[in-house]
Symmetry: C2
Subunit: 198 residues, 2 copies
Amino acid sequence: MNETLVLTPERILEVTEDVLRRYGLAKATVVDVARALDVSHGSVYRHFPSKASLRQAVAKRWLDRFNAPLQKIVDASGPAPARLERWLRTLFANKHKKLSDDPEMFATYLALAQEACQAVSSHKECLCDQVERILADGVKQGAFEIADVKATSRAVFDATIRFHHPAHSEEWNDAGLAARIDAVLALLLRGLEAPGKR
Amino acid sequence: MNETLVLTPERILEVTEDVLRRYGLAKATVVDVARALDVSHGSVYRHFPSKASLRQAVAKRWLDRFNAPLQKIVDASGPAPARLERWLRTLFANKHKKLSDDPEMFATYLALAQEACQAVSSHKECLCDQVERILADGVKQGAFEIADVKATSRAVFDATIRFHHPAHSEEWNDAGLAARIDAVLALLLRGLEAPGKR
């Protein structure tokens, strides 16, 4: 058997997602994953030494998928205030979309993420780093006045938690959500603004 | 029996709290409450027609207790920015204290509140109204510049949700919490500031 030659971690994670979708988190096993891949479960364990490590990797992969479109906004040029607003709105929209597209898988991933603390905290760190880069650009551009860019990037993240943290996902269907987002973003952008820019 | 003459709703709620503390939410019954009051359970039902209505009233009473110290800050005179900061810090501190003083009762009340949606939403409305009063004062004083005071008061409430919503109570023990609160409050206060006040 030279199955391991083609059996990449990425391929295992892809199939694990399918298996989770079909069987649900409680019932899906590594044997199901191996069967779906048409390999022995030992081959899966060669890449992920335990069921826990496989689940953590699935959670990490799901969280990482949020980063790419956001990173593009960080890397784009242009005025920082507009980029910050776009970054935040994209984060909210992508989280809300994941929930509305497939509420069951959202719940599955949420449960996985609750086990995978390490993956979640690096996800948050990464998002705060992205905000930090936009804020630093804004200071250079003279658009923002910020004493502590690192602390403030976390403050922007914390102050918008209602719109991106899954603990609040039940409130994402509120009729007034868009207006509430607008009000918070306006307040934060004003709080960052350099004097004389208003 | 003239027990109902002295059996006030307030007295029933007080004793219900004791009973919940002793037996826990899952086991406590209306009969336990009646026994602790030394009355028949019919007497309790005369004031609270169902177990659900009793539980809702307990949740409401718990939530209402947060309001009094905050209302004092609303009614005080003095510069609105300092009052807003004090109001928010008092809200956070009182929620965090409730959790650290008695984590079991905090969990009990949280479960009760999740059933008592109506009580929770009027609690939130009341808190937002209090913020609105302080913001309106700040506009009159020339300290704040705010286009829509109602929407902005809700934005202040939403932007600080990490520090007062029980869904985030697991994060209230973070070593860095005080610094995170400082950073969010500084950002929000700057966002409310009238130009030329900086």
